[in-house]
Point group: C2
Chain length 380, copies 2
């Protein structure tokens, strides 16, 4: 016969040999005096579910799993979704502790991790002092998740059909090894939302991986490349690119045509003209993306567009030549620093990156330094 | 020596043997009197680029490719991006005609396709009467694309680095072959944003693929499943599911606890209670998604959550048993009927679907019937 618990104000109390049976050997609850322990609703429901408790007495009624579950769902916030995650992790053989005040998980977080629901111990480790493997945040797919504070946690997302997906968020500090200095005498024309440059040295593309040659199979033209506004702004900012002409954005409308006075813009003015164009077509997002582009180039990493993957950039850590390009390792999405994820968006980005053997990296970009956050799917 | 063209009000005129050389044998421009033809700026720039025209005379100046390109970019809307697509398709061996008024492409569209930039003829076919392969819409990655009017066109998206991605949009009418009728006596409890049902027959999940069993590896519990709000609303609407209890959304806050009067809701009232809960957690989106869920079930298709793929649903055309589940063929995203795509969003969805060997299907859902739109990447 399995023991019975009793619901009191601070949780479900179990006596008899509960301390040895549940706490010492399997990491449930927290010990009280003697052999008594107290369990959270969640722990008690799980033990009922497994058949390890026979019933929990609530106001004199001995409840089995189903009525206790409904009772707990009415009394405890987000009970159903947290139960799913707790059960899944227990099924996978982990010991875990809730972070409710007074429980071992709370002590382990030391006040840091207010959104964390459980701490998960390494396999074979147990509360209260075992090494930690994950700090789990349980999130329903309809909740939202601020990017701030994500680092160091593992999200357990419960979707509408109660399936679970785990995402691990880790701060990273990427570093590349691409050596190439662009020349200082590039000249281009600003056309709508790109820059055309003629007569550029072949290395600009082939070794620096700037731009894209404007060449069809049948063309005899050499040395013409198109630069993105980001590439052009970066090259102008570092003094490499001047503009011979800047056609206005709506070139075809005659009103706008007067903006183009045909004057040559030195790099410093070219940079400003390109940034202005960037803001005109993308808004503030352009400045954020330029900050990340510049930061990555400063880290000797080559960022190229991630458009085909729905990201801002794909990155190459070490480019020797474009002809012999390495696999691109990261997909980078630039975010506002106060960005709030919808779990579905996270699922889409991370799934895609995994499918093309890349790591999904988010770059929340405000006025301070950029904290790159890698998010990957995880099977605990 | 290659011929020279002259820019006039209606385009670039070329005389000599231009009709045979450019129109008859390669599908450029449109014929005038005798052997003269007229080219759009785009066609003329392409012929300059290939070296097939030696120059174009503009106000008495003989311009080569570069100055003519800049001149055209200042005179013609979206010239640079359209040039890239035109050149790419020509490089791939296609004949294509602009849809400018009077040009062969315009006549072929017959007024239907105002956003189409070029018509592309089947390989080996030519203007004006050859069979059409694509109606191309050129879109910069920063432009937006309404879902309305997409069907039947091929998008050529030019990203910020001037790379091209083609997406073909086709209307589809999906049809499944899943045969299963749920029983009429299911009972559940509405908990936050899901429904728990006890004692359900195994076939509900195993053959109908409704819900997800609430069972861990170690559990002895049988017949308990969790239904999504969509599944529960659908089952209640068809008279299969009643609610024994409906716990309020914020069950843990004592204010809300009074909503639960413990009364049993018959299917018709249960359906309304579940829809209300759906709207409370998702807004209008819930009703749109329920319409698509219901429409797919009515087509004998099984929709399950597409969360892991960032979509609303993945679908199974024919489920015999869940144990022997076929490959899911579509990812479905539900949209408002006036949805406007950002190209990056389209790129992400379609890329992911391709990576998991599924077709991406958009379901714009308003008050009229649902027109499913399949969008796939294409290499012309």
């Amino acid at each position: 016969m399995q023991p019975e618990g009793t619901l009191r104000a601070d949780g479900v109390h179990v006596g008899g040999d509960a301390r040895q049976r549940f706490y010492d050997s399997r990491g449930y609850g927290r010990p009280l005096e003697g052999n008594e322990i107290v369990l959270t609703h969640l722990e008690a429901a799980h033990l009922l579910f497994r058949g390890d408790l026979s019933a929990v007495s609530v106001d004199g009624d001995a409840l089995g799993f189903e009525p206790f579950f409904v009772h707990a769902a009415a009394a405890v916030d987000r009970f159903a979704v947290r139960f799913l995650v707790y059960t899944d992790l227990r099924d996978r053989g982990f010991y875990l502790s809730p972070t409710r005040e007074g429980w071992p998980g709370d002590r382990r977080l030391d006040g840091d991790g207010e959104d964390v629901d459980f701490v998960v111990y390494e396999r074979g480790a147990s509360p209260p002092d075992g090494a930690l493997e994950h700090r789990i945040r349980v999130v329903g797919e309809r909740e939202s998740i601020p990017v701030e504070g994500l680092s160091g946690t593992t999200l357990a997302v419960v979707d509408e059909e109660s399936d679970l997906t785990y995402f691990e968020a880790v701060a990273i500090d990427p570093d590349g090894d691409t050596r190439y200095d662009p020349p200082d005498d590039l000249a281009g024309v600003l056309l709508e939302d790109r820059v055309l440059a003629w007569d550029v040295p072949g290395d600009l593309y082939e070794r620096g991986f700037y731009g894209r040659p404007l060449s069809g199979r049948a063309s005899t033209l050499e040395g013409a490349i198109q630069l993105s506004l980001l590439e052009a702004a970066f090259l102008a900012e570092r003094g490499s690119l001047r503009l011979d002409r800047a056609l206005p954005l709506d070139a075809a409308s005659s009103d706008a045509r007067t903006d183009d006075d045909g004057s040559v813009l030195a790099p410093v003015d070219a940079a400003e003209a390109i940034r202005e164009r960037g803001r005109a077509v993308e808004g503030d997002r352009f400045d954020r993306r330029l900050r990340v582009y510049t930061d990555l180039r400063d880290r000797s990493i080559v960022p190229k567009t991630g458009f085909k993957f729905g990201a801002d950039f794909r990155t190459y850590l070490e480019v020797e030549t474009v002809t012999d390009l390495p696999h691109s390792e990261h997909l980078v999405r630039v975010l506002e620093p106060d960005h709030v994820f919808v779990p579905r968006e996270l699922s889409l980005d991370v799934r895609l990156a995994g499918g093309v053997r890349k790591r999904m990296v988010f770059a929340p970009t405000g006025s301070s330094s950029i904290d790159y956050l890698s998010v990957a799917r995880l099977t605990p």
